[in-house]
Symmetry: C2
Subunit: 339 residues, 2 copies
């Protein structure tokens, strides 16, 4: 690793001269500047980031804590965060908590020793369920900025980014009602998560507010360890008149299409279907699954932008708010109007 000192020695000038020359200081003569820059170029000098961080008391690095990288939503959010970070000159240290509170606590504690300037966090399922939030409050106390996204905790004071899950579910439910669907079911593997709950409530609310008579909510709640295909099949057998399904997570929609087709249903003629997922997953079923796009990448980008903003205005003590990113309903084949 080549340092300012190395350059200074070779050029027979002082370290500070080199430093100033490299930053085009007008204290330094044109000639010296070009000599310095020439050598720096030749030797491929790069300022040592660690020394800079120590000096400036900022690392230009952000800690990203996510529960599960195999979940496409988080993977895409991470991609958005990463991209925006690069643009703004930041690096990302990622920690995957695997939905465990302990790992989340460890990661945050590990990184809040000056390793990062701030955090972007989607908390683990365990954290949501247990409401253990001391590790997050510690960050506030230490005045380390943090943004939460997707999995938000009301009791933690910070800026947050989500999509309007309630509205999304509400809207598609109403769409089904307007299409004259009478038995609209709701399938979820994530009822324990707040996003899962919001989607469920949006659905429920639309059903209950409807003026259509005899409209009742129908649920299939699945646990992570269950056999999805099996439970969905049984659910369809037990409820043969279902004519629309909303899948609250990013995978059961696809599985439901496959199961229903396999049972001989004609989709979308017999059943309209929509999931909360994305383009790639949509292509994994025949017919292709319609979906509510959660704009994960946009969520990530916005989370990062908000955080960098906070870092730049650390002195100002702004009030916290929650940014709602618009969702997008993408009609593929499972909601083709059968009229």
């Amino acid at each position: 690793m080549i340092t300012l000192k190395n350059l200074a020695e070779r050029l027979n000038v002082s370290i500070s001269t080199v430093s100033k020359a490299l930053s085009d200081s007008d204290e330094i003569s044109k000639e010296t500047i070009s000599r310095v820059k020439k050598l720096a170029g030749e030797l491929n000098y790069q300022p040592n980031r660690v020394a800079l961080s120590l000096k400036q008391n900022e690392t230009k690095t952000i800690g990203v804590i996510i529960p599960n990288i195999l979940n496409r939503f988080f993977a895409m959010a991470l991609y958005g965060i990463q991209n925006e970070a690069t643009k703004l000159g930041y690096s990302i240290i990622t920690c995957i908590t695997n939905e465990q509170l302990v790992k989340e606590q460890e990661s945050i504690s590990l990184l809040s020793n000056g390793s990062v300037d701030g955090f972007i966090i989607a908390v683990s399922e365990e954290t949501l369920m247990s409401s253990r939030i001391e590790h997050l409050q510690t960050l506030s106390e230490k005045r380390i900025p943090m943004i939460m996204f997707d999995r938000n905790l009301n009791d933690v004071e910070c800026n947050k980014v989500i999509i309007n899950d309630f509205k999304a579910a509400h809207e598609v439910t109403n769409m089904f009602i307007n299409r004259g669907k009478k038995q609209i079911a709701f399938i979820s593997t994530i009822n324990d998560l707040n996003v899962g709950a919001l989607r469920r409530i949006g659905y429920e609310n639309a059903i209950k507010m409807s003026v259509v008579p005899d409209l009742n909510p129908m649920y299939l709640f699945i646990k992570k360890e269950d056999d999805y295909q099996d439970l969905i099949k049984k659910f369809l057998i037990n409820n043969p008149n279902i004519d629309a399904i909303i899948a609250a997570d990013n995978i059961t929609g696809t599985i439901t299409v496959n199961v229903a087709i396999n049972m001989g249903y004609d989709i979308p003629k017999n059943i309209n279907l929509i999931g909360f997922t994305d383009e790639v997953v949509s292509n994994l079923s025949i017919p292709k699954l319609s979906y509510i796009d959660q704009n994960a990448e946009t969520i990530g980008e916005n989370a990062l932008r908000l955080l960098v903003n906070e870092l730049k205005n650390k002195d100002l003590d702004n009030a916290h708010s929650t940014l709602k990113i618009p969702f997008k309903i993408v009609h593929k084949e499972t909601t083709r109007s059968s009229i």
Copy 2:
């Protein structure tokens, strides 16, 4: 952020005394040690990582460069890397190159200024195709240790981790041959990648070496931008006697099952199918796709372990080698013996 200096002032001792006390130096009296530790505990002192890094000339951070986080293989590998890193006391800075050479160059250049102690890299498609490897050679010159995995370049001298893709494809092809299959097809969206090529060659080789007469390779090569469902359907129509299929990537296997079922095929009776993918994807089709598990997590873990090993023995100039992680053939429903 609370520092040694803070502690020293409060305790009316010198900074070095505090430092030594915290590391249980026997130069310091028991009493001082306990006083120091008590206060440090109360104030929740954590040594500043940046200062430590500068002093020790190591960051305990590793740069991980991967092409695409939405690819489950890389996501799982990252998870393995991350986990093992935490165990060994390292952090991970992730860069996603989105399969672009430029981003790969930028990421590496950005991080090779002392930000990380070493790299774990799966190069981008563009890098593979263009064979532009200066940015990787720079790392060797700078003596920054690096491990490559999955996407390996022969011209880059470093330790590498892969699965034996050739053998895996060879083995399943032979399995199909032994089952009496006569028209064994190979579908791939990744023929441009070396893993893709290795799988193809393993398949070809098994076909060619076979003593069964009239056995010929049959290919469907798909481009990323193509409509997968459509091309696969046409392929099946044009080759109605296919009785076995190997899907070289982690997604076309599932799509092929769905397309074939949709066309009225009975699987696995008419066609045996296997993909290079994982458990979760396997569950997205009916019948469930059999697959070759690439042990992505294990690959990641091993890559990290190798790298840390190198970091610990930076002086020793070991020869480089390629570690082959065993694959696992997981028989689900699409290879159920139809006999």
